[in-house]
């Protein structure tokens, strides 16, 4: 489209600001007016959001004002964002051009925070543009009025699509889109995305997939990246630590960087890192620079304050977790500091994109590796960034628990025809492989629980009528559905309340009505005893005790908080960066780019042991303090290593090698035990090829999983999403734990009596993909076949030091729970005998 063909109001609006419509904005108008769904890939600062809305604004302008007294046309455009804050922010930004151009457009937001009377009115008198979230779409689609509401829908805009599609919310949205397409034939979608590895995945997500074989794709408009970002790795004078994630060594350097720039955004990978960095910065903040903290567990009010201060330019730096990764405009940031390893090339690119919203100027970023392996990882990320490489994960297969939730929602809206619904669902890229048998099982699950023992037919939630259509048995079921909609199952959280300390030996927490600092995961508090200290909200607090659903803490002067359950990096190392690190290790010619101390470390490794080969696996064994250690270096990320560690321990136990435990990080894995592993491997008593044989993913895995608490947690999430157990709602907590049926018990009963139940299948799929990283482990085992190098050493190698230092910091696995109990009981006996 030629800019001159834009309606006058738009032309003069652009002109009045000294702007011109950008090429991609015009292209998008063209594609949409030709009826094509389109994916727009553009870096931050390219005017992506305006581009998404322009086609709708132009159309609505042409439609003109509604005559007073006539019925509305229904919703014209839906805008769906992964964050409700983003939807609200965008609405605010969009209102300006709409009113400045005097467009006859009504736009409104609808989120969980929207008051119910407004939501009701939106159904009766819908706005032209509705800005909302995937959960709200699901809710609207479960309403009997949905057909009317969406009949004249023309466009759906999906913001931050790259982030949405990697989660179960993306699945829920895919199902919602399939329904919207059926309600509004001819519907066009616009996907707005950052650069991704496989744009075709997103293009397929956006459109109807009529053909079970071929893959239909949307149109695509790609905006070339702006100027090359200016990324460097911190070259500190300080000693780079062997292990750990604190980056404490570099805190001076970080502070100096903040001082030299106007506004810095500091990204860290976990909440505890955020707390630590924030506290350390303030400790040396001699100039009292306004430095703030932002992470997901802080009180909402606190977060909003930080966001407002940032937008108004009152801050010099914000320490943030991924809660700030996305979209919202933070004003003029001129430096991004990434603390710890970036874990993925695309993640790094997106974080760096947060700096400097003008495309023509390079964004500036500094990477702060927190240990020696992370130096290698940062180097690999830097190389990837120079080449513009991406490593976003591939599109996921739709989850069955989400499908169950969706089916109940559809039945709440309208009587459900099973065959037509199956076709509708398979028309989405995410669920295209859903076979009829699985679909039927999920439908049966929704109706009666889907058990082989058909004893609940009389209590069915869905009943099939004489006309062959499925209907909800009672209006109450629709109510139940509304309370359970959504795919985010929060870990049970406790409020953290500040009270006066009464360390006078009384056991009950005292002081009342203190300030709420935020929320914290229940499992974290479970590990604590009164008197333990930890970092929260940027201060060291002392745990005083629990009262109902609140954790009471008091201020403390302690400088050294114990952070007992540091869970390591939240994101596992991406496959792409792992390959980069392996390649770098295997070719000493590339080491000149590394800091001296890191290079020396690798050189000593080469002299004393062996360097890991690019495609093989190095296995080192050595004795240390009456134990025998095995360390291997797969570089496949913590999750895959944990799974491998569990399996190796089991197998070594069976082979009589008496393993005691193991520990895993993103790069390596160490197993230790009582028997001489060097001898067992070199004598061929335990052939390494056999130890790492791919069949390890068979029976051993099943046996271990049967009792794994990991799987139980996954099951709980699936059971909540699928609607088997009800969500805990705020205010309901007091009903007490003994009243709610524990999902662990349900899991045990189900596993014992119906191991192939659809919900266990969903759980297994989830775990294999997420927690266990089975597919990555499988690829590793295939890759290293016949390429395993064993070297028996007299003592620990340089490369092995970091992982051995993790022992005691990371959770150690492999000890049976009953052994722990017996131990504790025996200790008590000893105590009694003394």
């Amino acid at each position: 489209m030629d800019a001159a063909l834009l309606p006058n109001r738009f032309q003069s609006w652009f002109a009045a600001r000294g702007w011109a419509p950008r090429q991609h904005q015009l292209q998008l108008i063209d594609h949409l007016s030709a009826g094509h769904s389109t994916l727009l890939i553009a870096p931050t600062g390219a005017g992506k959001t305006l581009a998404g809305f322009l086609p709708s604004l132009v159309e609505l302008e042409a439609r003109g004002k509604r005559k007073p007294g006539t019925a509305g046309d229904g919703i014209h455009t839906l805008y769906i964002s992964p964050l409700k804050a983003l939807a609200v922010d965008i609405a605010r930004n969009l209102e300006a051009p709409v009113s400045e151009m005097g467009l006859p457009v009504r736009l409104e937001t609808r989120t969980g925070d929207t008051p119910s009377h407004k939501r009701q009115r939106q159904k009766l008198n819908p706005p032209d543009i509705l800005l909302t979230t995937p959960e709200q779409i699901a809710l609207l689609l479960s309403d009997p009025a949905s057909a009317r509401l969406f009949a004249s829908l023309k466009t759906v805009i999906l913001d931050e699509l790259h982030a949405l599609v990697t989660s179960k919310r993306g699945d829920l949205l895919a199902l919602g889109l399939a329904r919207l397409r059926r309600l509004a034939p001819g519907l066009r979608t616009i996907g707005l995305s950052a650069t991704v590895a496989e744009p075709d995945d997103l293009r397929a997500y956006l459109v109807d997939q009529p053909d079970p074989e071929g893959r239909a794709l949307s149109h695509m408009v790609q905006v070339a990246g702006g100027a090359q970002p200016d990324i460097s790795i911190l070259d500190s004078e300080e000693r780079v630590p062997w292990s750990g994630h604190s980056s404490r060594y570099a805190i001076r350097d970080i502070y100096e960087l903040i001082k030299k720039h106007k506004v810095s955004l500091l990204f860290v990978n976990t909440r505890s890192q955020a707390e630590m960095v924030f506290q350390e910065l303030w400790r040396i903040n001699d100039d009292t620079l306004p430095i703030a903290l932002h992470h997901g567990s802080l009180d909402v009010g606190q977060r909003r304050k930080v966001e407002a201060a940032m937008a108004s330019g009152a801050l010099r730096a914000v320490v943030a977790t991924s809660s700030l990764d996305m979209g919202i405009d933070w004003g003029d940031i001129d430096l991004v500091i990434n603390i710890g390893a970036p874990k993925g090339a695309s993640r790094l690119a997106q974080r760096i994109g947060r700096a400097n919203h003008r495309m023509d100027e390079p964004s500036k970023a500094v990477l702060i590796p927190s240990n020696r392996f992370e130096v290698l990882e940062c180097q690999a990320a830097l190389a990837a960034s120079k080449q513009g490489k991406q490593d976003t994960p591939p599109l996921r297969q739709g989850a069955l628990d989400v499908l169950a939730q969706h089916l109940l929602g559809l039945a709440c809206a309208d009587p459900l025809d099973a065959v037509a619904t199956h076709d509708e669902i398979r028309s989405s890229e995410t669920y295209r492989h859903l076979d009829w048998e699985t679909f039927e099982k999920v439908l049966d699950f929704v109706a009666t629980g889907g058990y082989a023992l058909k004893s609940y037919d009389q209590y069915a939630k869905l009943r099939k009528g004489k006309d062959g259509l499925w209907r909800i048995a009672h209006p109450k079921i629709a109510q139940q559905y509304r309370l359970n909609v959504g795919t985010i199952v929060e870990a049970p959280m406790l409020k953290v309340r500040l009270v006066r300390s009464k360390a006078d030996g009384r056991r009950t927490p005292v002081g009342r009505g203190g300030r709420v600092l935020g929320e914290i995961e229940e499992y974290f508090i479970e590990q604590m005893a009164p008197g333990d200290t930890f970092l929260f909200g940027g201060e060291v607090v002392r745990f005083e005790g629990l009262r109902e659903n609140e954790a009471y803490v008091s201020r403390t002067k302690s400088d050294n908080p114990m952070i007992p359950s540091y869970m390591g990096g939240k994101f596992p190392l991406s496959t792409y960066l792992a390959e980069g690190v392996r390649a770098m290790l295997a070719s000493p010619s590339t080491w000149k780019a590394l800091p001296d101390q890191v290079r020396e470390w690798l050189e000593i490794q080469r002299d004393k042991s062996v360097l890991p080969a690019k495609d093989g696996l190095l296995v080192e064994t050595f004795p240390r303090a009456n134990k025998h250690y095995m360390v291997c270096y797969p570089f496949e990320g913590r999750l895959a290593h944990q799974t491998l560690g569990m399996l190796l321990t089991k197998r070594l136990e069976r082979l009589g090698a008496r393993p005691l435990g193991f520990v895993a990080n993103d790069y390596a894995l160490s197993v230790w035990g009582l028997s001489d592993l060097s001898l067992s491997f070199s004598s061929g008593k335990i052939p390494l090829d056999q130890l790492f044989e791919e069949d390890i993913l068979g029976d051993d895995l099943d046996a271990w999983l049967a009792d794994s608490s990991l799987l139980k947690r996954t099951f709980r999430n699936c059971a909540v999403i699928a609607g088997l157990i009800e969500r805990r709602h705020p205010g309901q907590e007091k009903s007490g734990r003994q009243v709610t049926v524990s999902s662990d018990l349900i899991y045990d009963v189900l596993r014992a009596h119906e191991p192939d139940h659809i919900l266990l299948k969903a759980t297994w799929n989830d775990a294999a993909e997420g927690l266990l990283d089975i597919s990555r482990l499988g690829e590793l085992l295939a890759r290293i076949r016949g390429r395993i190098t064993h070297t028996g050493l007299p003592h620990v190698s340089p490369l092995a030091v970091p992982i051995l230092l993790e022992i005691g910091k990371e959770p150690v696995y492999g000890e049976a729970i009953d052994t722990l109990l017996a131990d504790a009981a025996e200790e008590l006996i000893l105590e009694a005998m003394e």
Binding site: Y459, Q527, L724, E726, R737, H753, L821
Partner: protein
């Protein structure tokens, strides 16, 4: 076989229990969660909550319908091992008053077989205040045998004479201990050697932590022991070692 050798053989074959005294009476706690009183050949089991699954299903929460089967199978195993002359079910045997009526025929048959050749006492509970229908056994609100009294809910008086020798259920006791940064939570027996609370036996029954204030109504603060259920053995702890949830 003489009566004596038959008695001795039975005694030798009886499962290993943890022997404790309640109100001066020697009784055994078993890791399945039952109480075994060898002198009287009485087996006591609390809070079976049979038909809990179907009770929830009636409200649209489709819990697996296998809880009754799982509970009865486990009970059958215990009865087979101890071969008691008398079984006392300490209340909440059914999850709701209609539970016994809903009991599917195969389970009814299974339960009836278990009752054959022995005395069977249903103590009423808050979930099942009425006698079960179409089942054998005597229904009582409480039953006294020697120095022990069996009822569902404990008398809420610390150290009263009514509480002496009381064996009850109702609370679903569970305990948590912390060890090496991990915490372990299990169902448990709770006792101060005057009275005893049994863990819930049913397959879908959760637990209430012994640090909850409900227990302060029946035990002097921190003056009790717990016996946590493990695989093949019990783990004893004093109250000072257990922690809240």
């Amino acid at each position: 076989m003489s009566a004596l050798t038959s008695h001795l053989r039975k005694y030798a074959a009886a499962p290993v229990c943890h022997d404790i005294q309640i109100n001066g009476q020697l009784v055994g706690l078993h890791d399945s969660g039952v109480l075994w009183w060898p002198d009287e050949s009485i087996l006591v089991v609390a809070d079976l909550h049979l038909e809990k699954g179907s009770s929830y299903a009636r409200r649209g929460v489709m819990l697996p319908p296998y809880d009754t089967g799982a509970t009865l199978e486990k009970l059958a195993g215990v009865i087979d091992a101890f071969d008691p002359a008398c079984v006392i079910c300490l209340g909440d045997s059914f999850h709701d008053p209609d539970g016994s009526d809903r009991l599917p025929a195969p389970y009814r048959a299974m339960l009836t077989t278990l009752q054959l050749g022995r005395e069977w006492i249903w103590v009423t509970g808050n979930h099942d205040p009425v006698a079960p229908v179409r089942l054998c056994g005597v229904t009582v609100d409480e039953v006294k045998v020697g120095p022990l009294v069996f009822r569902h809910e404990p008398v809420e008086k610390v150290g009263s004479s009514e509480a002496a020798g009381e064996v009850c259920g109702h609370l679903h006791p569970a305990a948590r201990v912390r060890r090496f940064g991990r915490s372990i939570r299990r169902a448990c027996f709770v006792t101060d050697n005057t009275r005893l609370v049994l863990p819930a036996f049913g397959a879908l029954t959760g637990g209430l932590n012994v640090t909850d204030k409900a227990y302060s109504m029946i035990f002097r603060r921190r003056q009790f022991s717990v016996f946590m259920l493990g695989n093949d053995r019990l783990f004893p702890f004093t109250a000072s070692r257990v922690v809240g949830d």
